[in-house]
Symmetry: C2
Subunit: 225 residues, 2 copies
């Protein structure tokens, strides 16, 4: 883990996952720019985050901007958008994302009367993370429980598994994970394993429904890593 | 969790996962029949398990038999075979398996220079568990670390996630999980979610390689369940 202070653009920053993760990053010293299609909407949510950060020692700043402006202001971009419309949005931002470290926590899920399940992408040989454009793409934060992110616990009792093909890109997400869990993220291997992390969220949703909870996962056997 | 004492046939009972799970079941009071193509091979491994059970209060028995005989002697069948040859083996045992509760812990994985990854089954809409025959099929025990099963720890610091379309079938695996983890298994939803649990093992293998450990997962947020 490094002590780098990042500036993170959160695309989908007005949704529960993006807002919650952005809040956690800022609470732990990183600067965030929440992005939305409409700058005013992002600014309103940023103001809400800023209010919660009042009095937090060492907190970073929270701003809001239109997506492209948010990305331009940041080194790291968190994609926290719904899967519906994901491909079009990413394509429309391709030029802005080029050269950035992009962390995707997008979960391509479908729901029917049998519950949540993963959507099949590229005949089973693809994932939302692999659809991202020319950038250093990392998959992480798929499985964290959004309601807990915006909650009162200092850290979530979960681990963040990080996958990617760039060690530098993974290190960014491993560092940022500590803002959420109090521990660095866990290096889970290559980017193609996002094909597993994304639909694993469907298992957690099933557990949540059955046990009336916000389930997460921890990786055991690591000791202090 | 119920206190039912099961008789479990372990197909693939001479491999590390089958032998290790069978040992844990028997150590905690269930009777096991390890199955193999060759009865003598299964009997030799059963003798090895029996030796380890000596002096364990309340332990069940461990026997070995040819696969079909093992299944005939049991109410519950654990499929713990390698994915290579899985379909043919299951087809050859279809008549024997009919009407049984079948628990599949089969992991369809592939390995290349980029590491372990999930094999695509039915264009992403299938899993080894879903290929099992006319039986009450449940997916469970995919992610437990075989070396720890045969090790000295009383229980593994992991959770067993159970998926299936039959509540009764899931209950069997939920009960048996307590032999491995000291806690009942976690109901993870419908059988089709085996499509996630099976390749998740590739993530754990990647973590094992990186951190030189035997990683597992725990589900957080459940409290006592």
């Amino acid at each position: 883990m490094t002590d780098t202070r990042y500036t993170v653009a959160v695309i989908g920053g007005t949704g529960p996952q993006g807002k919650g993760l952005g809040y956690r990053f800022a609470k732990n010293g990183h600067d965030i720019v929440l992005g939305s299609r409409a700058a005013e909407k992002a600014e309103a949510v940023a103001a809400e985050v800023t209010e919660r950060l009042a009095g937090v020692a060492g907190a970073g700043t929270a701003k809001g901007a239109a997506n492209a402006d948010a990305i331009a202001a940041a080194d790291v971009v968190l994609l926290a958008v719904p899967y519906d419309g994901h491909d079009e949005l990413v394509a429309s931002l391709a030029g802005d994302l080029a050269g950035k470290t992009v962390i995707s926590c997008v979960n391509p899920l479908a729901f029917d009367k049998r519950g949540a399940h993963g959507r099949v992408i590229n005949g089973g040989e693809g994932s939302a993370a692999e659809l991202a454009p020319e950038a250093t793409v990392v998959g992480a934060f798929h499985n964290v429980a959004a309601p807990l992110l915006w909650g009162e616990d200092e850290f979530l009792d979960e681990d963040v598994i990080v996958v990617g093909d760039s060690a530098d890109g993974k290190q960014v997400a491993i560092d940022l994970a500590a803002s959420v869990t109090g521990r660095p993220g866990v290096d889970g291997g290559k980017l193609r394993l996002a094909r597993v992390l994304e639909p694993f969220t469907a298992v957690l949703i099933s557990i949540n429904r059955k046990y009336k909870t916000h389930a997460g996962i921890r990786v055991t056997g690591l000791g202090e890593h």
